[in-house]
Amino acid sequence: MKHIIIIGGGVAGMQCASELAQQGVRVTILEKEADTGGKVKNWHKLFPTFTPASDVLSGLRHKIAKADNITIKTGCEATQVTPNSVRLASGEELSCDAVVIATGYTLFDARIKEEYGYGIYDNVITAADLEEMFNKNDVRLADGRVPRRIAILHCVGSRDEKVCQRHCSKVCCVTGVKQAIELKQLFPSADVFNFYMDIRMFGPGYEEMYREAQQKYNVHFVRGRISEVSPTIDNRLQIKAEDTLTGRPLKIGVDMLVLLIGMRANDMNTTLETDSGLQRQASGFMQPKDAFLGNAESNVEGIFYAGAITAPKNVAEALCDGATAALRVSDWLRNK
Amino acid sequence: MFAAIIIKYVSWLRALPKSDLVLLGKGLVSPQTMMAIWEVVCESLLHRRIFRINKRLGYMHMSLAFGWFLLIVVGWAETVAYLGARWVPLQGHVFFKYFAALNGINTHIAIFDFVMDLLLMFVLSGVALAWYKRRNSAKLGMKRATQHIFFDKIALTALWFVFPVRLIAESITAAIYGGGGFLTGGIGKLLSMVVSDNILEWAYEPIWWIYSLALGVFFMAMPFSRYMHIFTEIPLIFLRHYKLRPQDKEKSYDNFEVEACSRCGICIDPCQLQQQLGIHDVQSVYFLRDRRYNMLQQKIAHNCLMCGRCEQVCPVGINLNTLRLNSRTSMRNIPNEGRYNYLRGKDYSMGEGRVGYFAGCMTLLTPNTLHAMEKIFTAARENVWWADKDGGVCCGRPMKLTGETDSAQNMMDFNKRLFKQHDITTLVTSCPICLRVFREEYNLEGIEVLHHSEYILRLIQQGRLRIKYNAEQTFTYHDPCELGRGSGIYEEPRAVIEAIGKLLETEHNRKNALCCGSSLANTVIDDKQQLSIATNVAEEMDSTGAKTLVTACPLCKKAIARGTRSKVVDLSEIVAGNLR
């Protein structure tokens, strides 16, 4: 029986594993964390349908649990990858017939954009922090009060050469609109301001959700990047930006600032480039063999990609990628 | 009651502006007075116009008005006949049967009994229909009846009671004292057989009291309720014959029109806001009611397409659009002399010629029309002065439609000066909105204003344009409101189309044509609602099977094109495309 190793137990990896398992291949998932689910396990609801992230994960987990030819090794970090073997941080080496890399992405560290005050002011949080608050059903300010005015800043660590992240992280716009709606649902009397550079509503139902946020939920959208955040005497946050649509600077005091942090390439991608001979894009994400016909293959035979390892992707795309990678792997095994 | 009415009339008449009084003075001694009298008979009594729209409704109104009128006249005659030749007030007959019985007048003139009963039955049939209409208006050909306010409902209830109660009262009288015709007498006989005399005696007084109360309530309420129309329509008909009309600012004459509305609700059905969008509280009947009781809100006044479909059917012939317009003016007009100072010295026009072409704002969004006109002008070898090809100043009508009449005047003055300055003799426009305001308000002496449909037809007739005819080509035509009902231009565009191909008429055409829904007069309905009306109009046009949908208004074209996948073109485009 052929043996495939999937590095990364996020949605793409899990999807790929379950598809491969159905084709009678033995699959091992290497997950560096204590549990599978990747980033999605931290999310609350998924845009644009507001489907609970846990629904998606439990569906995937269920499929994996049914298959008896999938092994999940948690707490295992891969350090070196070849088409026929994967070395773990523990020194152990696993042999295999092909490898699927589904290690996803790293969230941008908002501390680097220090002018936004993440880690400095209490009520500056990231989109990921907000998802966690949603999950705990405990959205409030550091001192326990309810926020009356919330600002959401798009493109933190995306499209920003100053932090060496030139690419668009793709999902933050949609997330920002989704979170704005959720915040309005929680606090109907609060004002929610989205500070955006462009609103990129690329997927089905996204534009409709955006419109709903504007018209139904009265979420304010200001086109302009926040320049700096300062504390005020009453312990709020003062935000400065340009309202580029009126060509005037804008100043606003808010209780809470949510930073829509982008996706950046994993540090490990550099190792993949140097040690495994895989190609990397300028953005740091891995370069698939071909952007159209070989988007699940790497430039190295026997190493495949699934999910956000190659570019920022949303959950649906990552799932689709997982299935594609499974198909490519079984094609490759058959023709080898 | 009469006092209230007279006070109203006198105060309204006194408040009439001088120009109106002059008209009134001139008209009073003219043959118009006779014609007015004839119209009063036709309309106020016989309700001829309603008959034309809906026979059953016509009968209902006619039976009530004419029947009651005859009841009064014949009743008076009866009273006079009984009491001998002495002065009897017109209302003398009302309780005649009651007092006659009490006073021991027991003689009966059979012919009166018969006629009175016949008339009572006539009226009662009307009441029955009215009652039935309230319950089930659709059966009477009205999809929706007026929703009345509480006060009107009281008056209405009183009116409904008057005649059935009179029937019962007279029947009981007949049962006790004998007499009565086939109806009251018949029921009277039946009652005396079935019910004991004691009960009849006991019921006699109260039933006459109820009758008298119902009548009292009705007449007390009349000047303040919708039934004011019964009398107001009469002076209105006279004044209208004397050429008094409402204008773009409110004046005293408007009172006659406003209070002449009987709230019959005939205006509700044709309203597309009602038909298509289910908006039930903005129609002319409600507008007039709210205006009369000083409770008109902007959102009602401005929620109207001003398509004129209701005006077309109004049995009283009230100038509904003008009244709505001057209400809007009262609400919004803020004189602002300096408002368009920036227009000073602006002139973006180009070309030279005695014929001027004014595309209008909307035509600039339908450049195909502009190009087609260019082609037509070239083909007809016309030298043209292009007033606004590179952007001009709005004609002012859209502003006027929102009530800012004085500000609109600033724009109108600008354009007028521009036209005069460039010395044109003919002004052609492809926008019916502009056309209407040019004709009605610009006072362009020496300049003939033509819609491009008229102009093109003229070119064809003069042989300056040679058109290919092809019976294979099928067209259907949408009458723009401002062109058709607004300016009375129905046949010219049709003649042009028929010179090119086959014209298939839509179900609603000419005076009954539908509105595209994007009318500038309405600033309340939203985009989805506009689209819904447009889709409905487009569907009707598509259902003719025509290959090309033609209209003659840039706004209609834009609107209808949203509702269909068929080709929607301006009249000029098919002309330009079929030049020989």
Binding site: I120, I233, Q238 | -
Partner: protein
């Protein structure tokens, strides 16, 4: 506030042997500050610092006003470095933030475009016959004080506390734009949360005020204030800052840039005249100190020796608050007891009524 980010921005500051470059504005408006700086470094801290009479203005004001071309200023700066090398120093410290910005900018330019450095060497040689070496260490004088802040704290005779209540004084710090906004790595704490003055304030017992317009420019911008018609824009910036800090009721403002010190001080007078608004408790404005003056007060210098009588906003309320003894009548006596003149009385300098001159005339 969880302030930790400043630690990411550190720079090397020489410990001893400085070549000192004066500031045009500071030596004119706050001459006491430069004198005291030399005194603190040399006498109190026992460091070697050379105040070279041969050095000139860096011409930064001219450069930023488009009067002096880039090549010229490069040559002038090269001459300063040549003087430093000739005097046997390698650590350059400048008193002016604009100059500091110029030096940093030019060193970076030479780094990125070596041909400009070559050209400058050629120009300098042609013009003066001198040759220069780039400094091994470049620091602003506030960096130098920051570097020695703990040593100064040890030698301090008083802290930045309210003498009467024992509460720490509330201090607003203002950093000159050219200190770290051009090259964040060139400043202690970077450009967002600069720590150079905050570090002094904290070491010497004061409490820092973090207010919304903390990073905003004072409005000095040469082009703006040099043209009278543009000064409305210039003053609007100071106005905005003062409005923003006023609710925190700061005891004083401390700046590291001579221009900012001057502006925040003198514009308070102008705003008071124009709008009738005075900031700070008691309606006499918020005193504006240079960091040298702040260090001097902590080390027990006499306020008049520090040149604090040159301020537009009277410092007496602050001195009283800190429990510093001073001779009111000596305020307008310069060195050798010579009368130096006194400004017209205005809302923001109405403190000492009883100078000897008042009495004498």
């Amino acid at each position: 506030m969880k302030r930790s980010s400043w630690t990411d921005y550190q720079k090397d500051i020489a410990d001893d042997h400085y070549y000192y470059a004066r500031s045009c504005i500071r030596q004119n408006f706050f001459p006491g500050s430069e004198k005291v700086f030399l005194d603190i470094l040399g006498k109190k801290l026992g460091r070697d610092i050379f105040d070279d009479p041969l050095h000139t203005s860096c011409t930064g004001i001219g450069y930023h006003s488009d009067v002096v071309p880039l090549e010229t200023i490069m040559t002038v700066v090269a001459r300063q470095f040549a003087l430093m090398s000739e005097a046997g120093y390698e650590n350059f410290t400048s008193s002016c933030i604009t100059s500091f910005g110029i030096y940093t900018e030019l060193l970076a330019t030479w780094e990125e475009f070596p041909e400009t450095e070559e050209k400058t060497r050629e120009n300098l040689y042609k013009a003066t016959g001198r040759e220069f070496k780039k400094p091994k260490n470049l620091a602003h004088t506030s960096d130098v004080i920051f570097h020695h802040r703990e040593e100064i704290a040890q030698k301090a005779v008083r802290k930045l506390v309210n003498y009467h209540t024992g509460e720490p004084l509330k201090v607003v710090e203002h950093i000159g734009c050219h200190y770290a906004k051009i090259f964040p790595k060139s400043g202690i704490g970077g450009s967002e949360f600069p720590y150079v003055l905050a570090g002094m304030v904290e070491s010497w017992g004061g409490e820092l005020v973090d207010y919304p317009e903390r990073r905003h420019c004072c409005g000095f911008g040469f082009r703006n204030y040099l043209v009278q018609a543009n000064r409305g824009y210039s003053i609007a910036n100071s106005h905005k800052k003062l409005e923003s800090m006023a609710p925190y009721k700061p005891d004083f403002i401390v700046c590291n840039c001579p221009g900012c010190s001057m502006f925040l001080d003198k514009w308070q007078y102008t705003i008071a005249e124009m709008e009738g608004i005075t900031y700070g408790a008691g309606g006499t404005g918020i005193p504006v100190l240079t960091y040298e003056e702040m260090a001097g007060l902590v080390l027990g210098y006499d306020p008049w020796e520090l040149g604090m009588q040159m301020h537009q906003v009277d410092v007496e309320p602050l001195l009283d608050k800190m429990g510093i003894e001073y001779n009111p009548s000596a305020k307008y006596l310069g060195r050798n007891g010579k009368y130096i003149g006194r400004p017209e009385r205005a809302i923001v300098n109405s403190c000492s009524e009883d100078t000897i001159y008042k009495r004498r005339f």
